[in-house]
């Protein structure tokens, strides 16, 4: 760094700067390229380390709850179409639209995370000690194919009773899963939707119980 300086060169002080500026652009370009490459690399990799992975609790819950919700939508659509009770028709409408909307949220997050909306994992694999809760591939609270067939064939009081009974069971299973997700998930979006499911389905359970009493008394 130190230089033997000719005192007489005072006036010349600026000269060497100009001489060597010719190499400046080269270094600047190199630094720029390096910086841009590093920036792109970090930008691409950071989201990967911050979003839930393919076998995470969050992804597992969103996939399984999508399937669980889909059946609630299916049963509600049947009741909406066939029930002769205005209150049941409305609660069925409510459940179908809410849960189908929530499926949209859940699928969109999986897509944001570059994950498949489905997986080949066993249902509920994200939940510890869940092995025994799956019967013929069905998650807790889900209606069996036989129960669905019966619901499709039913009408009048039988349909109303069957729908409310199946939906009561379905909500209980769904609330349990959502509560587990709240406990296990680290993602604020997942926590938010799971908490809202617990709250709204618990409220709906009260309504379903009231309707069941009314239908059975009729």
């Amino acid at each position: 760094m130190t230089v033997s300086t000719n005192p007489g060169a005072a006036a010349d002080a600026a000269a060497p700067t100009e001489t060597h500026r010719s190499r400046g652009p080269l270094w600047a370009a190199l630094a720029l390229i390096l910086g841009v490459a590093l920036g792109i690399g970090i930008g691409l990799s950071i989201p990967h380390f911050t979003k839930p992975g393919d076998d995470s609790v969050e992804a597992g819950f969103l996939r399984d709850m999508s399937t669980h919700h889909a059946q609630a939508v299916e049963m509600s659509m049947i009741a909406h179409q066939k029930s002769d009770d205005a209150e049941i028709v409305y609660v069925a409408n409510d459940i179908a639209l809410t849960q189908h909307g929530q499926i949209g949220y859940m699928q969109a997050w999986l897509r944001d995370w570059d994950l498949s909306p489905t997986s080949s994992q066993e249902p509920m694999a994200w939940m510890p000690n869940s092995a025994g809760s799956i019967v013929n591939g069905l998650m807790p609270g889900m209606a069996t194919p036989e129960q669905l067939t019966k619901l499709r064939a039913a009408s009048g009081k039988e349909l109303n009773t069957e729908f409310l009974t199946l939906m009561r069971q379905h909500h209980l299973g769904g609330i349990h899963m959502a509560q587990e997700a709240v406990k296990l998930s680290d993602n604020k979006d997942v926590d938010w939707i799971a908490e809202s499911m617990v709250k709204s389905q618990q409220t709906e359970l009260g309504l379903i119980d009231d309707l069941l009493k009314k239908v059975q008394a009729s």
């Binding site: 000719n6 600026a14 889909a70 059946q71 066939k82 591939g137």
Partner: protein
Amino acid sequence: MSTPGPERVPSSVKVTKTSGQGKPPAGSSAAKKTGGGKGPAGKGGGGGKGRKPVTPVKVAGGRNWGPIAVAGVVVLVAVGIIGYGVFAAVQGSRSWEDKVSEIAGVVNYRKQNNAAINDTSHKQGPQQYVTSPPVGGAHNSTPQNCSGDVYDAPIANEHAVHSLEHGAVWITYKPGLAADQVDVLKKKVEGQDYTMMSPYAGLDKNVSVQVWGFQYKTDDVNDAKIDEFIKDTRLVSALEPGISCSGGNTTTGPLQASAGNGAVMNK
């Protein structure tokens, strides 16, 4: 400080680096540059400066390898992490079409751009399909229910193709396939939304699994490629994202005359 002029020179020269100092006439390259850049004649001190022999500044002989090694390792680790992240990001965003196409034996009908297969219109009555089982084409307005539905008898192509449009994986098997083998397939469907299965008359292999535009046939129900196919295509193959697999026809057998106007929904 106290003495103006000469005293202040070193600091300003220092900033502008070392080598150019006094070189012009001595070093050939430096001379060329200096000469081209600006004439030494212009400045009074230029000449005197040039005569002074100056030894080129040398980089210290012994390098300090310790910090260099540490820095190297840090850089390597950083590049590794970033590289993995980039790789994972690129890998994660690979399309499902690419993934399923890479499974050996899968036929990609979407690539063929066959108008008969690409046809998404609703048509009443029986339809002709160019593949067996069909993988796309005009279909009945009512889909077959595909929320993990296991049908024990053949279903109508016209309903099934509509389900494919909704993102369903349709597993078909040769009628008469041993019960324990059918059970293996059943396990892939039960409780799995956007799947359905049924026997299919006239199959050339024991199993054919299809989504809209892709098909894989095998004789082995335990063929791992069946699972791979399902994993890569289920739901994402939907032509209408967000659509459901429920609310469709749940009966088996050929197309009913009444089908096509929505009259069979949930019957």
